[in-house]
Amino acid sequence: MEIIKILISELPQFAKGTLVAIEVLVGLLFVGIVIGLAIALAEIFGNSLTKFLATTLRKFLWAIPQLVLLFLVFYLPFDLNPMLAAIIALGLCSSAFQSQIFRGAILSVQSGQIEAAKAMGMSRPRTIFYIVIPQMIRLSIGPWTNEFSSELKDTSLAYVVGVVEIMRNAKYIIAYTYGNTAAVYLFVGILYFTLTRIGTYFFYKLEDRLWVPGFEKRS
């Protein structure tokens, strides 16, 4: 099997591509967390103006296909490099989804606890920081792991603007060896599967570590 030899000889390239994919993933998740959390907090605790702005932004990002936003950001006249464009565009898309994860988690924090902090003389921002966010983190990890694996797969879109990640490696091999397309994609599929499993394993571990006695545990 010629293709197996080729794939083996291309492993260093795939390793590089995997690292690039992970960089894009970490970058876009970070953008998504920051903007997503801002949207969630504004939608719940904001005044009518910030609420309106956050909801509009969220609906806008929600409705645009990732590919369209990716090209849009890439072709903006800022001369962004492909990696940065991918991180920003995919991160913005992810922020819409992450905002709803955080929003749901924040709303699950009993309002009585927020009122108790208020009655103790604690300001709203400090209440959010010390009472709401810590509980939100624990409640978010499950659904957030879902978003993590979904975004890991979506890093494969970055190849369209020229980011040399896993898909780009695959395309390259397909271009210079004929007739092995399925085999290459099979390999790539296994690679993504492995990455996803490793990632989710660590988030499940984290969820266990943040478990609070007396609450239900995911079995």
Partner: protein, 246 residues
């Protein structure tokens, strides 16, 4: 003894519904005041008006002689000086018992960690829960959670404590342990306002009682007098519901 709280002509409306009508009373340092009345009479609203969880529309609230019902008041400082105990405890579920009770001293008063821990441990001891110091709220019974929420209020070193039906969410067996903590507090000289349906507690522990009906104080006075010789028909009618229960 000096007057710690004086309330003058307090009113509160929800839309067109007058929940509190011209409520006035005063409380001396170390006294326990019980506020009784039927559900919907406005007694919880009165309590929530005092620390502006539900800001009153008009009237004065003088805490140690200073009117706190003004826009210039830093309400968070006032709230820290008035402990509040909720009907449904509202403990912080992600924190241990010790962390819950340390929260006020550490995060609101911004005292040092050592001082906060020392105060918290002492207050947890006061409510008899030292053995649960590392547990989480969800591991405790309702009565235990309420005792911790009392410790949490005490740890702020407040000038007075407001209890909003502290035993209404508990079954009779658990009610006793909470009432006994509150009785000890009253005897130790803590100033407290207790909104309650526990007539036994109001009669035997409280110094003063206010009976409130449809947002009006119908009658107030020393608890002995109010229970043994109520002056108004409405008070007599209300207390009749409880006769024979004690």
């Amino acid at each position: 003894m000096s007057t710690i709280l004086e309330v003058k002509n307090l009113t509160k409306k929800f839309d067109d519904n007058e929940v509190l009508k011209d409520v006035s009373f005063e409380l001396k340092k170390g006294e326990t005041l019980a506020v009784i009345g039927s559900s919907g009479s406005g007694k919880s609203t009165l309590l929530r008006c005092l620390n502006h969880l539900s800001p009153p529309d008009s009237g004065q609230i003088l805490l140690e002689g200073i009117n706190i019902n003004t826009p210039e008041t830093d309400i968070n400082r006032v709230r820290a000086d008035m402990g509040f105990v909720f009907q449904d405890f509202n403990l912080f579920t992600h924190l241990t018992i010790l962390e819950n009770v340390m929260f006020g001293p550490l995060r609101v008063r911004r005292w040092s960690k050592d001082k906060a821990r020392q105060i918290a441990t002492a207050e947890i001891k006061t409510v008899g829960m030292l053995d649960k110091i590392d547990s989480y709220p969800a591991q405790l019974s309702g009565g235990q959670q309420q005792r911790i929420s009392i410790a949490r209020a005490l740890a702020l070193k407040p000038k007075l404590i407001l209890f909003d039906e502290p035993t209404s969410a508990l079954d009779p067996e658990l009610t006793g342990e909470v009432l006994s903590v509150m009785t000890d507090l009253a005897h130790s000289g803590m100033t407290a306002i207790v909104v309650t349906h526990e007539m036994g507690f109001a009669r035997s522990v409280a110094d003063k009682v206010i009976f409130i009906d449809q947002g009006l104080i119908v009658e107030q006075g020393p608890s002995k007098t109010l229970f043994s010789a109520p002056q108004h028909e409405r008070t007599k009618l209300f207390l009749k519901n409880f006769s024979g229960l004690e």
